[in-house]
């Protein structure tokens, strides 16, 4: 017998010993970060960055596969006893030696998870983790000239890139309401002092929102640069239009954080057929929330339409995509993302 076969036999036997629990239920008591466990992490420190942002230092479990600069990770945090999942960009360089990673979180008004992480998270706390993912990353071949165009917390994935890879010619244009709101400001200014970065800060409280046409004056050679942009939808929409107008859209890489909600529909009666629950839903609330409120165990991840951690078969009826207004009708094999879909009439969700 091979050693894997032996091991699986031994595991089967262990399962007989622990039934109806699994051996891992006991192992989790002593070693939640071990190899083979569900991926978790332990918060080891929380460093304030600005008045409403903090960097969280996390030791991931042994199963962590490592990330590429610019990627994000979904984390599950218990806030007031309720497990909530959100996605945050990784801000630590991939070369960090101590096995820890960091995310940097900006508390958004009424943001349950972000406020919890920035203001209340305690070292020692266990959180749930997913493997890092996302394709807002640097290419294999180094571009000669780079532009980072960011606003607010859109700086976080870019900071991961800046700390990870040095380029000969890097320009950054960053928007924040006031100087003290600029996350990583000291570190950015150190890079500037070392001539590793050219930085333009746009302080929107005094300068107003960045007019994308001003790029010509701020970064005259912007069109020649490989650009990574991250920030609110308005900025990214304007950038995409601007780059397209000049025929250089392939040089622009963007990352969107939140879906902009366009249309609200009529709602309807939603049946969660696997659980046998039926509830009324309005046309504006994501089916994920509707299901969770009804006590259905809904898979979820980022809750903003990017991770596909929430895909679920739509067995009957129709749903509306909250970002685009697009209607999806039930057909065999049709999966919907419950976090960005609302009922557009009665529907049946297989959960």
């Amino acid at each position: 017998m091979t050693s894997t076969a032996l091991r699986s036999r031994a595991w089967k036997l262990l399962e007989m010993v622990t039934t109806p629990l699994l051996p891992s239920d006991y192992l989790d008591l002593v070693s939640p970060l071990r190899a083979g466990a569900d991926l978790r992490g332990r918060i080891e420190a929380v460093h304030p960055e600005t008045g409403d942002a903090a960097t969280i230092v996390i030791r991931p479990g042994r199963g962590w596969r490592g990330h590429t600069a610019g990627q994000y990770v979904r984390i599950g945090v218990d806030v007031d006893g309720v497990r909530l999942w959100r996605a945050y960009s990784l801000t630590s360089p991939t070369s960090r030696q101590d096995g820890r990673v960091t995310i940097t979180v900006k508390a958004i008004p009424d943001g349950k998870v972000s406020n919890h992480l920035v203001r209340r998270a305690k070292p020692g706390t266990l959180i749930q983790l997913d493997q890092p993912t996302g394709d807002f990353v640097l290419p294999q071949a180094k571009p000669a000239k780079v532009l980072y165009l960011t606003a607010g917390s859109g700086i976080t994935p870019v900071m991961g890139m800046l700390r990870d890879t040095e380029f000969d010619d890097v320009v950054m244009v960053h928007c924040a309401p006031q100087p003290q709101d600029v996350i990583f400001r000291n570190e950015l200014h150190d890079l500037v002092a070392d001539k590793k970065l050219r930085l333009t800060e746009v302080h929107t409280d005094t300068d107003g929102i960045l007019d994308i046409a001003r790029l010509d004056e701020l970064v005259p050679d912007w069109a020649e640069r490989e650009t990574w942009a991250c920030g609110p939808a308005g900025l990214l929409d304007a950038a995409e239009e601007h780059w397209a107008e000049h025929g250089v859209q392939e040089r622009l890489h963007t990352e969107r954080f939140r879906p902009s909600i366009v249309v609200t529909g009529d709602g309807g009666e939603v049946t969660f057929s696997a659980t046998g629950k039926t509830v009324d839903a309005d046309g504006a609330t994501p089916l994920l929330d509707i299901g969770e409120e009804a006590g259905v165990l809904m898979p979820s991840g980022c809750r903003m339409g990017i991770c596909f951690g929430c895909v679920t078969p739509l067995k009957a009826g129709a749903v509306r995509d909250l970002r685009t207004g697009e209607i999806t009708e039930a057909e065999p094999g049709v999966l919907i993302q419950t976090c960005v879909s609302a009922a557009a009439g009665p529907c049946d969700i297989e959960r």
Binding site: L13, M16, V17, T18, T19, P20, L21, D25, Y26, L29, D78, D80, G81, V82, R83, L84, T275, E292, G295, V296, L297
Partner: protein
Amino acid sequence: MTAIDPTAHLTAEQIEELGRELDAIRDEVIADRGEKDAAYIRKVISAQRTLELASRGVLLFSIFPPAWVLGTAGLSVAKIMDNMEIGHNILHGQWDWMRDPKIHSTTWEWDHVSPAEQWKHSHNELHHTYTNVIGKDNDLGYGIMRVDEDQKWHPFHLGQPLWNFLNACFFEYGIAAYDLELGKNLHKRRRKNPEFRARAKAVGRKIRKQVLKDYVIHPLLSGPSFLPTLAATFTANLVRNIWTHSVIMCGHFPEGVQVFERRSIKGETRGQWYLRQMMGSANISGSKAMHFMTGNLSHQIEHHLFPDLPSNRYAEVAVKVRALFEKYELEYVTGPLPKQVFSAWHKVVRLSLPNKKPAVKTPDREQELVAA
């Protein structure tokens, strides 16, 4: 159903007002539910696991009498915790709000021969919806006992103290059979029903696993302590069964608890539903440890009013509920465990004999009792 209706003095408006007051109690707990509650259930679960592991470890040496006693006692308590405060309550969805897939009513499985899925249907759906409605709620006498004067006596009932005792000893099997509606399904035609067969298979699988674990694997692991360990696990299961049976009997059987006619729940309002739960359940008084070991089913009345509120909140809810009983001049049936157990057993024995005065029979009632 009973000669005098103890709720007759309440007007329809009062009953609805009572319903609103109970809703308010519920809302208050839900608004306040949070981190502390989550920490509580997590602590109980890890304490249970630690205790079970330690007890099983001690039982490896159960050939030495002190180890046997210690291990058996620990395992009995661990099994009671798994059943009562943890399993029963998680399967009620009391902790679903945490959104932790490991502590969720859709994923939890307990150390019990009845598969969680089946138990949830017969207990959460049937028993909790139709509490104490004769012919609808099979928990009333589990289909094998006569629990109300109005039910027709049959010579079969003479044996009910014995059935009840056996049921107590092998309670988990009784529950599994009951969840399967075995009595009803053993008729030739029903036995072949594929849906029933699938459920029976699931029970068979669960029984096999549990029996293998308790009576084969762990004794084998104990080597020379094989037989003492076997005896220890058997004893622990027996203790757990008798304990849970006693607690559960105290929930609906003691004297003073009302039962209801099937007709009485037609078009029931929320207030009336609450009232039926209040009149159809009984509590056990006692210490904190007592409440814990009963899985807080000592607060049966509160549990029946709010089956999905976290169990650790029933104690505080009970104070408010009891005040409502007083306000509306209703009887809050409660008492210490020995008294309630005696009361329930007394009823079982009394009703095993025919009534002194025969019950008034109407054709309609006859039918209902046959269905029961």
